[in-house]
Amino acid sequence: MVEVLQQIINGIAIGGVYVLIALGLTTVFGILGIAHFAHGSVSMFGGYLTFFFVTSWGIPLLLAILIALLVGLVLGVLIELLAYRPVRDANHINAFIVALGLTMMVEGINLELFGHEQVVIPTDFSRVFNIGGVTIPELRLYVILAAALLIAAMTVFVERTKTGQAIRAVAENRDAAILMGVNVKTIPLVVFAISTALGVCAGVMVGSLFAIAPGIGEGLVVKGFAVLILGGLGSIPGAVVGGLVLGITEALAAGFISSAYKDVIAFVVMISVLLFRPQGLMGKA
């Protein structure tokens, strides 16, 4: 029983990261219909930036994260304005190609600015809590709590604020939103800013829990899209459920079936779910 609980805790920590990646992707895809492949590389950029602020400029970690978040918001706006807006009214394949090109570009920028070495964001959180035989490293606990907080904040923003309602309106019916007076030109900017900031948070989590290195972002974005499909395209609750399901399934598969095939098993579970619910766990039929 302790082992099962331990694996679930392991899965929730990595699942939290998947959720944040998927939340960023799902808002962009659900509202704008763009498969934003560069999201993983942008997340890594946020992680690298935090690492740089902490190690090169000696900025305290929380302040460094805050600055990286602000940079993320601006970067999101720039990505929308410079990369996606020019092809917004063109065929979908154009945005698809822009997304691929942007991925390569951001990866190249990361490599050029921060080098090829793996980096780990240093933290002072080295305590380990032991609750009835289940161990929780302090850092993982904070990652889980931070992910929960961001999910809650995102939910409140989308459900309770005027901008959030406008975003949902555009996602539901763009033409009707225009008729209702929603400024559909600013909505994509807000969406990309939020999405990129969430990605930066995920990058910081990956960078402190594990490591940031060239190529890590690509793996993350694949997992993010898997969560998106599992949870239901464009669904925020779906991203949360999907991320946690994927994280916990991976941990349980590695622990109880085979570590060599943990990714395969997780994807088999995902496919099985989709056989019965093609719209995803929380998607609308």
């Binding site: 331990q6 392991n10 793996q118 780990v120 380990v128 829990l209 598969a253």
Partner: protein
């Protein structure tokens, strides 16, 4: 009289031209980016350092000529396709005949499969897959001993420590890591021990807590970690976080710097690394200490333990070219490589077979050693069984 003087002048001028300084391009194919860069980049730097030293001390003497080395390095990303492309580019476009580096087995194996048909000599460094030197490729040599040569020694050592139940966590889809574990298991079983679990991870994985949780539940006497430095460092850290307090053994060849980027020195304390006796500053020879100092000064970072494999290649190549008396005849240089003694300048502690650096398979052997993390450093604790002659004879019986 005038004709004689003119002829003499022409001969002298021609002689002077023959004795002119020439440039010999040598190639490096290695992982400069990606997961293998922790081994490939230091290897490439080591070749550059050796070339600089050789040039500073007068270059390579071939008859009347002196050759200064020029290093052309390409990133093979430890990827078989990239490595094949890099070597093709070196041979076909750059006209290179001597290719060094090769940190990683997959990429090295791909190049080894066609190098025999090329007018070139391939000198392999850190890549440890056994089959690289069982194919009887006449123009290939390797400075690092195969993984199972070290794995067997490690198994004996761990069994002597009294461990009966060992859990393995490794990059087991990589051939040479698997062969290290197989050889390890064989020796452990001879002493009545067993491997209770073989858990795997991918080279890009950084979260091994699910595997470690499973291992914790099996209550082993010890764990053995085989894999690249970066994932291995995470395993050591996460094992402590999960409260696993059994001895941790490994086969990683990482430097102190590489480990402490991920885990604290406290989390690393007591970890063993059972590997060829590679560069460790605290137990280095005079050559090793000089190499460490020069490398650090040149590149602003300490060298990795395995980087001298390629530094030593470069000096072996120099001696072979000088012995063969040619840079053009690669066949003669390849033959000379198999005849040379261990060069004076090498850093690793080689065990010559029949007084030669490389055996008939083109394989060199170092001693094996047990290193332990103590107070922030890898400390050489003891030699491990290293019968180079017996292993060389065994290697000659294989054909795969």
């Amino acid at each position: 009289m005038r004709l004689t003087a003119l002829t003499a002048a022409m001969v002298m001028t021609a002689g002077a031209a023959w004795a002119e300084e020439k440039t010999l391009d040598i190639g490096v194919s290695d992982a400069l980016t990606g997961g293998g860069a922790v081994y490939g980049l230091p290897q490439t730097n080591a070749v550059k350092l050796a070339a600089k030293e050789i040039n500073a001390s007068g270059g390579i003497k071939v008859g009347e000529d002196t050759y200064m080395l020029n290093v052309i390095a390409y990133d093979d990303k430890a990827n078989p396709t990239e490595a094949s492309n890099a070597v093709r580019k070196l041979i076909d476009r750059d006209g290179v005949k001597y290719i060094l580096g090769f940190c990683c087995s997959g990429a090295t194996g791909a190049v080894a499969s066609f190098i025999e048909y090329e007018d070139a000599v391939m000198l392999v460094g850190n890549a440890a897959e056994r089959s690289i030197t069982t194919r009887e490729i006449p123009n290939l040599t390797r400075t690092r001993p195969p993984a199972d040569y070290t794995g067997a020694a490690a198994g004996t050592f761990v069994a002597e420590k009294g461990h009966k139940r060992v859990a393995v966590l490794g990059a087991l889809d990589v051939g040479f890591y698997a062969s290290y574990v197989d050889a390890f298991e064989k020796e452990l079983e001879k002493a009545g021990g067993e491997i209770v679990s073989r858990e795997a991870f991918g080279l890009k994985d950084r979260d091994m807590s699910p595997q470690l949780t499973k291992i914790r539940g099996q209550e082993p006497d010890a764990i053995l970690v085989v894999g690249y430095v970066e994932p291995a460092a995470f395993i050591y850290r996460q094992a402590v976080e999960l409260g696993i307090d059994v001895p941790r053994y490994g086969f990683t060849s990482g430097s102190e710097d590489q480990f402490t980027r991920v885990a604290t020195s406290e989390q690393m304390e007591g970890v063993w690394d059972l590997r060829p006796t590679e560069l460790t500053l605290l137990s280095a020879s005079e050559n090793g200490k000089a190499y460490h100092a020069n490398y650090t000064e040149e590149f602003g970072i300490a060298p990795s333990p395995s980087s001298p494999y390629s530094y030593d290649q470069t000096y072996a190549l120099k001696d072979a070219i000088e012995a063969a008396g040619t840079v053009e005849d690669t066949e003669a240089v390849a033959e000379a490589l198999r005849e040379i003694a261990v060069p004076d300048e090498v850093v690793m502690q080689y065990l010559p077979v029949d007084d030669k650096m490389f055996d008939e398979n083109g394989q060199a052997y170092t001693s094996n050693g047990a290193f332990q993390w103590q107070g922030g450093n890898w400390v050489f604790v003891q030699d491990l069984p290293s019968d180079a002659a017996a292993y060389s004879a065994f290697l000659s019986t294989l054909d795969d």
